[in-house]
């Protein structure tokens, strides 16, 4: 869309923010599916007494104000924080106010939205199909890919959609650890905030309207697509 000075349509800065947001949400979702699945698996199958504390920690972002989370992440990832010391030692510099810093924050922020649907799906499958697979000569790894994953697919789809959508919708955390750097950390929600601050209501409308449409379509997809066989049990 063309650059329009009167606030109609999306400006170059708006498009940059949209592109950045999509990249951030995609990276976060992919990382979360990889990192969240073992966590969900463990939570779904363990009888350990650590299950409750770990569940509580995973769920914390649901209730904490994003600013609180962002504040601690900023400290941890800063030059004097433990994560910051580590990333500096590895020659990566510090994460705050960078794209990957935002990804790291988003992974933690959206964790419950990915872990919980996967955990529920694995719990509802139960141990039996995996035992059956074992008696049919499938190693645990084999059974994970050929039995658990396909059976838990609705849970993974839900997790991916929710993780993506929730990352797109974050604001407070981004502001705390990402600031407002065009094309690096200025995501759509921050861009809208900037428009409103500058009294560019028309521009704000375009982006805000796009977010409303996106959210609706995402949730619509979730409720339509979702689980082809879950409801029929």
């Amino acid at each position: 869309m063309a650059i329009v000075s009167d606030g109609m349509g999306f400006s170059a800065a708006d498009l940059g923010a949209i592109w950045l947001t999509l990249r951030l949400a995609s990276a976060t979702t992919l990382l979360l599916l990889v990192a969240g699945t073992p966590v969900a698996w463990w939570l779904a199958t363990t009888r350990s007494r650590w299950k409750a504390p770990v569940s509580a920690i995973v769920a914390m972002p649901l209730v904490l104000p994003p600013t609180v989370l962002g504040f601690y992440l900023l400290l941890a990832m800063g030059p004097h924080g433990p994560v910051g010391q580590l990333t500096q030692a590895l020659g990566l510099g510090t994460l705050p106010f960078t794209f990957w810093g935002l990804v790291a924050g988003s992974v933690i922020y959206s964790m419950p939205f990915v872990v919980q649907p996967i955990q529920n799906a694995i719990e509802s499958i139960g141990r039996r199909p995996l035992e059956v697979a074992a008696t049919l000569r499938a190693s645990p790894w084999d059974a994970f890919w050929t039995v658990a994953l396909p059976l838990a697919r609705p849970g993974f789809i839900t997790a991916a959609i929710l993780g993506f959508a929730h990352t797109v919708g974050e604001f407070g955390l981004v502001l705390m650890i990402g600031g407002n750097i065009p094309d690096v950390t200025r995501v759509v929600s921050v861009q809208i905030y900037d428009h409103v601050e500058a009294l560019e209501y028309a521009s704000a409308h375009w982006l805000a309207g796009a977010m409303v449409a996106f959210s609706f379509l995402t949730l619509l997809a979730l409720y339509t697509l979702n689980p082809p066989w879950r409801g029929r049990k």
């Binding site: 039996r128 199909p129 035992e131 059956v132 697979a133 074992a134 008696t135 049919l136 000569r137 499938a138 190693s139 645990p140 084999d142 059974a143 050929t146 039995v147 396909p150 059976l151 697919r153 066989w229």
Partner: protein, 359 residues
């Protein structure tokens, strides 16, 4: 002893409120029924054999060691088939893909069981493209059995495969299980709490009670033991094996010769020479001192009392007879036993009201 194929299983497992402690030497061929009431540890024993449950102990199956003090072979490395009690087909796969799942994971050189034979044996050739969901309970269980067989297991474990089915579905599957027994040389451990299934299918019997094996032996000898009927209650009775010796077309009866003793049964269209198994329940056998000539009972046979024992209810006694070489149990009242003055060694007549041809 070591030359004959066999299964040696020694397991010790302690759960809160339940302990399994067995030491079994089972034949390496034929069907061994593991019988007991619910909670006796049958399923746990089977899961230990499969390696799904980790008990302390040892397990040797026809020359292979699956578990001993030094090692534990993971379930997926054991050449076994497992048929679970409830339908366990993978919901995301078609019947055909379910059947292939295990077979594909077995080296082609180790695939001894023919696909066509198994499909024909279990009557599921027409179901291949269907989804597991769309099958009836009986069909699902047949597919599950076929899926286990197609891995060409050295041992087939069946955990009450009929328990979740209603009577017509049971009747539908039982003949398939019998053919399995007759046509495939795969040893089977068959868990059941249904005496009729055990009587019909088993060659060997293990009776479990509270996690311990209270009896183990060939089915004919074991069912004729007087100390077990207590656990079997109304289902106490013997199983005998013989052949169909004659068919009486006029009265629709067949004569079964069991080691020289003849029993007349309903003719179920089995050819002369067909191997037959009959079951005689203790409650269907009464005892007379003389051969009555005007009875409606078809099978009245002379025999000798071997042993008499008490039953849980004081009104009843259990009498073990020997008719020719066949053991038969009779349940009589204590009053009748005293009135007839029954003693071990007496020659009497067994009046057998019902003989069921079960296979």
């Amino acid at each position: 002893m070591s030359a004959t194929p066999e299964i040696r299983a020694r397991f010790k497992l302690d759960y809160p409120g339940f302990a399994l402690d067995v030491d079994l030497a089972l034949p390496g061929r034929g069907v061994t029924a593991i019988f007991g009431h619910s909670g006796s540890g049958k399923t746990t024993l089977l899961r230990c054999v499969a390696g799904l449950e980790r008990a302390a102990g040892q397990l040797h199956v026809n020359g292979e060691t699956w578990q001993d003090g030094n090692g534990f072979v993971a379930p997926h490395r054991r050449s076994l088939g497992y048929v679970f009690q409830e339908a366990s087909l993978f919901a995301h796969l078609s019947v055909g893909k379910n059947l292939e799942y295990g077979m594909q994971r077995v080296r082609p050189t180790d695939r001894k069981v023919s696909v066509d034979h198994v499909l024909e044996l279990l009557g599921i050739g027409g179901l291949m493209a269907r989804k597991a969901e769309g099958l009836s309970g009986g069909e699902r269980q047949r597919v599950a059995i076929a899926r286990a067989l197609l891995t060409s297991p050295r041992l087939l474990l069946m955990d009450e495969p009929l328990a979740a089915l209603d009577l017509p579905r049971k009747q539908e599957i039982l003949p398939y299980l019998e053919r399995l027994h007759d046509e495939l040389d795969i040893p089977v451990l068959y868990v059941s709490h249904a005496p009729d299934e055990v009587a019909r299918l088993a060659d060997h019997l293990v009776v479990l009670d509270a996690g311990r094996a209270v009896a183990t032996g060939p089915i004919i000898e074991t069912l004729a033991r007087l100390d077990l009927p207590i656990r079997l209650g109304e289902d106490a009775g013997v199983v005998l094996e013989g052949v169909i010796a004659e068919r009486d077309k006029h009265w629709h009866l067949a004569r079964v010769n069991c080691g020289g003793t003849n029993f007349w049964v309903r003719d179920d269209d089995h050819a002369v020479g067909h191997r037959a198994r009959i079951r005689i329940l203790a409650r269907d056998v009464s005892i007379a001192r003389s051969q009555s000539a005007d009875s409606s009972i078809l099978n009245i046979l002379p025999g000798k009392i071997i042993e008499i024992s008490d039953e849980p209810h004081p009104a009843q006694m259990l009498v073990k007879l020997e008719i020719g070489v066949s053991p038969v149990l009779a349940r009589v009242t204590r009053r009748s036993a005293e009135a007839l003055d029954l003693e071990p060694g007496n020659q009497v007549y067994a009046q057998i009201k019902a003989v069921a041809l079960i296979a």
